[in-house]
């Protein structure tokens, strides 16, 4: 798994797609595939065509799963067991004032903790700033 992290609108997906033009990708949007196993089900379609799975807007997927009362931490482990070669793209959401609302605080904290775990497991971690990738692992 590769992890891509960076601020909003920094060109993270474009960066990933530009890395290896020989590959074909299946881009999954974490904001659209919000229900239960929707993400994994959509990713299954990549197997037949040998596409590389990209999970875009991972932070929104975490947010949606938390809102739905899911357990994103466990769900993502299961997902990675099945798709160990995927690319996960996540916004940096912790660089701001601590929000007043409890859910907003929990969402930021949980996303951060999950990203740390993903970074530990990842073969490569890239931070994207202004469309430029800086490999940090």
């Amino acid at each position: 798994m590769k992890l891509i992290i960076g601020g909003y609108a920094q060109g993270k997906l474009t960066y990933v797609l530009g890395q290896d033009r020989q590959k074909t990708y299946r881009v999954l949007d974490g904001d659209c595939l919000r229900d239960g196993d929707a993400l994994a089900e959509e990713a299954e379609k990549s197997v037949k065509n040998r596409e590389t799975v990209i999970v875009n807007h991972f932070h929104l997927w975490v947010r949606n799963r938390l809102e739905a009362g899911g357990d994103p931490e466990r769900e993502v482990e299961k997902f990675l067991d099945r798709f160990p070669d995927c690319v996960i793209i996540c916004d940096e959401v912790g660089n701001g004032i601590v929000p007043v609302e409890a859910f907003e605080r929990a969402y930021r904290e949980q996303t951060g903790r999950m990203v740390i775990r993903l970074a530990k497991e990842a073969e490569k971690v890239v931070r994207v700033v202004c469309g430029i990738g800086q490999r940090i692992k």
Binding site: A102, G112, I136
Partner: protein, 182 residues
Amino acid sequence: MTVLMIGGSGSGKSACAEEYLLALSAGKKKYYLAAMQAYDEESRARIERHRKMRAGKDFITIEQPVRIQDAALYMEAGEKTALLECVSNLTANEMFAGGGRRTKEAVTEAVVNGIARLGEKLTHFVIVSNNVFEDGVVYDEATTAYICAMGRINQRLAAMADEVVEVVAGIPIMIKDGSDRR
């Protein structure tokens, strides 16, 4: 050596800062300076999580929500090192303590001078600060003054520090190297 460690919420900066101090402080006294005050269940849980992380690592904890230089009064003589967690709490406490509000200029001076004075007594000092700058939200006047003070404080601390490390996804990234020292 003075190290400024900066990161967002849930970036893993605390764990990184601990590792740094442990690597620097072999055989020396280690103080953990806690600026966070427990005011509700959530802050108590956060303090407890940090306490568990430090367990068995021989830290002596000093709770010092304001006037960080006063932490020296509770330290023993001899070589010592400290980890300050964190500047964002210290700054908020200095700004809003007692229900009032001090100006960003006064708060900047209080925090920076307090840290500098305390730093003179320490062999190694790891200072944890927070990136509160990049959420793109326009806040009320008080919060804006706080963010502004934090920005100035971070800049002054970074200028003082031998090393500045940014933590992203639990990974330390050196943004000011010790070799830059003038």
